[in-house]
Symmetry: D2
Subunit: 403 residues, 4 copies
Amino acid sequence: MSSRREKFGLWMVGVGGRVSATVAVGVSALKRGLTATCGMVTELPALADHDLPEPGSLVIGGHEVRSQTITESIREMHELSGLIDSELIRRCSGDVHKIEANVRLGTLYGASKAIRSLVGRDRATEPTRPGDVVKRLTADLEEFQHQHRLDHVVVVNVSSSEPPFRIGPTQRTFESIRRSLGKSGSRVLPASALYALAAIEAGCSYINFTPSLGIAAPGLEARAAQRGTLYAGRDGKTGETLVKSILAPMFAMRNLQVLSWVGHNILGNRDGAVLSDPKSRASKIKSKDQTIPAIVGYQPDIHTSIEYIRSLDDWKVAWDFIHFQGFLGTKMNMQFTWQASDSILAAPLIIDLVRLTVLAWRRRETGPMKHLACFFKQPMHVGEHDYVTQWRQLVAHVNSDGG
Amino acid sequence: MSSRREKFGLWMVGVGGRVSATVAVGVSALKRGLTATCGMVTELPALADHDLPEPGSLVIGGHEVRSQTITESIREMHELSGLIDSELIRRCSGDVHKIEANVRLGTLYGASKAIRSLVGRDRATEPTRPGDVVKRLTADLEEFQHQHRLDHVVVVNVSSSEPPFRIGPTQRTFESIRRSLGKSGSRVLPASALYALAAIEAGCSYINFTPSLGIAAPGLEARAAQRGTLYAGRDGKTGETLVKSILAPMFAMRNLQVLSWVGHNILGNRDGAVLSDPKSRASKIKSKDQTIPAIVGYQPDIHTSIEYIRSLDDWKVAWDFIHFQGFLGTKMNMQFTWQASDSILAAPLIIDLVRLTVLAWRRRETGPMKHLACFFKQPMHVGEHDYVTQWRQLVAHVNSDGG
Amino acid sequence: MSSRREKFGLWMVGVGGRVSATVAVGVSALKRGLTATCGMVTELPALADHDLPEPGSLVIGGHEVRSQTITESIREMHELSGLIDSELIRRCSGDVHKIEANVRLGTLYGASKAIRSLVGRDRATEPTRPGDVVKRLTADLEEFQHQHRLDHVVVVNVSSSEPPFRIGPTQRTFESIRRSLGKSGSRVLPASALYALAAIEAGCSYINFTPSLGIAAPGLEARAAQRGTLYAGRDGKTGETLVKSILAPMFAMRNLQVLSWVGHNILGNRDGAVLSDPKSRASKIKSKDQTIPAIVGYQPDIHTSIEYIRSLDDWKVAWDFIHFQGFLGTKMNMQFTWQASDSILAAPLIIDLVRLTVLAWRRRETGPMKHLACFFKQPMHVGEHDYVTQWRQLVAHVNSDGG
Amino acid sequence: MSSRREKFGLWMVGVGGRVSATVAVGVSALKRGLTATCGMVTELPALADHDLPEPGSLVIGGHEVRSQTITESIREMHELSGLIDSELIRRCSGDVHKIEANVRLGTLYGASKAIRSLVGRDRATEPTRPGDVVKRLTADLEEFQHQHRLDHVVVVNVSSSEPPFRIGPTQRTFESIRRSLGKSGSRVLPASALYALAAIEAGCSYINFTPSLGIAAPGLEARAAQRGTLYAGRDGKTGETLVKSILAPMFAMRNLQVLSWVGHNILGNRDGAVLSDPKSRASKIKSKDQTIPAIVGYQPDIHTSIEYIRSLDDWKVAWDFIHFQGFLGTKMNMQFTWQASDSILAAPLIIDLVRLTVLAWRRRETGPMKHLACFFKQPMHVGEHDYVTQWRQLVAHVNSDGG
């Protein structure tokens, strides 16, 4: 089979973080047969018959703005969160070191103060024009693809959340974006969008697993259309919002009126530290608040809050309280507590997204991959938030054709 | 429209209980415009276009073995549970009194000790042969239909749970059942099945909202086929199991392995008191334990327990703990607490079931109504336990035809 | 006994609110033998032997800035929250109407925007000098005492929370306060403190059941010392903080290190609406955050949040998550959910505080009643936050003497 | 100081289990300065000034009926529960191996079927007369003390729970016990009591950290009195019951009536497996059910259940629901979930108990150590279950004298 000889790359923006660390160990552990495929949806029978690339065959690299290595991130997860067994870490360390050779310096251009302060100091003297930043990032991607003789590279943004970015007239066309990119000090695009543009220019596919802007500006999508780029996003649906998108339809299907839905999230890793910045948090909360009204068809009283609790490290605890009304005006309630590690939940989905993007690339699809909506809190160009419907659309799309 | 002049009856077995009380107040309140249709699935847009009978137009009657009146049940719900507003009770009391005129003495033939002790004493000198009991019950149904000039009557079992009943060779054919019915003291069928047979013989439809046997013996289903009876059951899916049938697919669709699922239910009304009898409880727990394995496709460690807590009265609190495994063997967990009134949740579904049965009757359907699976914990002749799939099958069936 | 002929008054600031409404119904229900003394600590054997005034003998009045009557507040509690039985309301309505005759217009002088907007419009043309406001409030208290021939009146602040008020040099002596009171438009004291000063001047005792300033300015306490005023506060400890002050000592006594303690409160009545104003909320949260560090002796990571959720009305739901570390550095956790009505919890404590204040008054005690610390989140002049220790101090003080 | 040269032994019955494993690692880690004293109450300032033996100086040995080694138990805790860091295990392994040299074969004489089946096979040919078993166990203790030149040995029962044992006339005096011990096949005492008697005869102190009988037969206590034995028990109060004994006083002190208190415990290690035997469970539940009524002074509706959930391994999850009534008959509720490892909680308390027993031994105290009540669910000869009161009694006793 020709597909056996194809080689694919996974390039993660924020490769020094916890999600990337888990992907790195996971890909190695899968290759060495040290772990099962639990958590990977592409291993489910409904999606399995498509000769997807073996996770262990993926070549991994990425951009990172901090000096922390993947190895250090893995060790932190073990020591602070009790995640990832030390024996597994030992056996995968060689593979992880190889990945570390593929790490390139990211950009802080247009990054929020919260992210800058995490980095500690500006590690690089950034170019003064954003267009020059894009050129450097693009060159990194091209070098990666060339050096490892990769048939295709998928860029996945797993870096910390940026504050919300307001789309204005300048971001509506690629022409006006391009003009601004040439201007010194221009704030035309936030860092996440510079990476996205680099992916487009380098001929890569692009996935945004965060609520940051990424490719979601009309001008960038227009450029993606010109270049035939595959892309998807935004904001991976790993935990509390996943549960919401499963549970809310129950109330709808039983005609029980949701009066209010309160979600309180506490988490402790770098994601949490960045979210303790009110602006970054706003971006995340906005992303979370769309789910319920889209499903039930009206606007209950929804409150979502996020707090940074250092001691939890990579664990997240979400408490949700749902106040609902049934027959004869009776008020009843349900509450749930979700205790899980976002990195552990996200990593297999990243691998899934790369495999499904490769499948779309082989089928010569282009543009927004709407069938990947079930992976995201804010699926691009998709209004459907009901998880089961999203899932069936994924299965139908994948099995409709080729492969 | 001719359907405007049609008249339908709802006959509840266990009409003195809390669910019936809520149905009685609810039907009156809907007729008088005093409450909304919240909790009724037949009012959802997906099911609404079928000229279903108005809830307020249903004529209600039923069998009861205890001396407690519907009015007393309603008052208890208000005083002990804070359910059903006293002003609403006052305004509906006239309608409720009319229903009370349609209550007939039920049978304790073959009833469990737990149920007998609730009754206090055997109110009736039961016939010695079960066949004679069936004749009496049938006559009650025929009298009800005739007296109120009803086009059709739907019998719904909402009485307390019986202990599990083991189907043997005698229950496999209607012939052998019929022979045993003529024998004095025969235990060929439990009380719930005698009511079901009476419904068949009287030309009524039959719904079993409890885990008791009801119509679920091959010999009885054979008789139903001869008589063209419509039927459905068993065990209304109102609370914790509903949530399970919504949540379990999430773990399946995300390839997260459910290690164990513990459910602890505490409740306090007569349902709880009967379930404090270990035999009745066994029947209920068995019914609840089927859901998860059927959905995830393997057998996690499942424990379901039920305790009678008098102070809760009509409120039920269910705590579920789900232990699951994700990527890299990581153990994570979710827990939920459900606090609701089963009677309040069940009542609108009873009205839905009657309306949907009338629709099937108008369409000249017969036999088990498999499309009603989403209403039941143990849907008869249906292996599907995923709520969303069940719901879509209901919507598809209802909208496929006639109306 | 002479005490039989003594007559005492309870004057509530914010008498139109939910707590006052519950006190009003409660006092009437106790007088008429329609309810038990559940929730009243002065009925516990440890405190019972002191010939305290019968709750039913208290004469009630109060200040209110809104036009809502007590009767309306009671009806809202029934209709929106399912609290207070309608039959009880009916039987107590005569007594409640008598109380309504003792309601006087409160002051909005120095009130926050949040409170002003709740009132809808300024009902009164306020005097321009705060000293004139105090005079009017004082006259109301004197008239109440005189009209009902009361031996003593206890003023209790149960009105909505004010934003935090910063004590400056002006508030440090009564002389400088007095000077400022005479200045037109002076912001020397917030509304809650004007009421407190009126209580001092009218010879009443003063209890602050809210986190507002009240009497807690050095200059006001100096005036109270001159006048021999009895007082206590601040911020009634009714729910989540009560649980904290009971649970935190467990971790301390077992040498388990509290890493973080997160509390998320959702509530829906006017208290909640006022707290949805960030400034008022700050005052409340600050009050709640003192408990844990004071008990465990170090500073864990503490987050307390409050959200207004209209549908809950008078119910409050608090979720607390406690992350703690045990032997060998093991991280473990406990979480609790508290679902209760603050008004129902507070009302009997108000009655207790009045009875205990009368006891102190009879014993000719003066100044801050430190022995009442167990009733408050921020007990004045008391550093002890451990509930059990506070409780033992109350019992010891009450039983040490007189009676 | 002479105490510096004293040497003390800790002999654990069930030394192959999880609690013992944690004690073994813990003592080594403390000696080597690799962990803090978190979880040890004797390190609290209130108890610290008594020159207690250093944990690291304790010589450890024990009886075990299974072939599993301490090292294997430690590895299981790491692999199945994520407890005890692998680096710590490595550094303490030498000390643990030394302890393993002090393990002697325990007895299955009179053990329950549940415990026998865990052992797999009877490893030893037991003597036919229980008296001979006691002699062998006593000899093991004497050899341990002599070999290591120990000043005193404290025997602590941390083995699996036995079924409840009914005390009859034979167990009332030591004379009748002694006679029965000489009879072949006599069931006069369960295994736990044979160990206790061996401790008495060998001149050791005895602590029962389980709900098994141990020393709690009048005839054995009489023998302990003759021999001047120090002892305490039963059933370590580590988790859910600890919380109960802290929380229940809150309801009592606030005059809130506890209507029902439901506790559902799920756990997964050997303790859980033994408790899946209904008889052993009965013993445990009985022990847990005493706390609430003893504290509140009346009998609420109390249900405590325990389920064995293999996947939890050493973690225990307890869910408690408390239904309570406040002012005006209002029903409210609180629930909590406790997620912790019993072994991690128990181990430091075992060390505490040994240290406090040594202190009592130095002070020449004898008989039941009632001041240790706060460590136990069923404190021997103590009716007080309120944790705070128990704790104050401990502090007062320890600081009253000598040291």
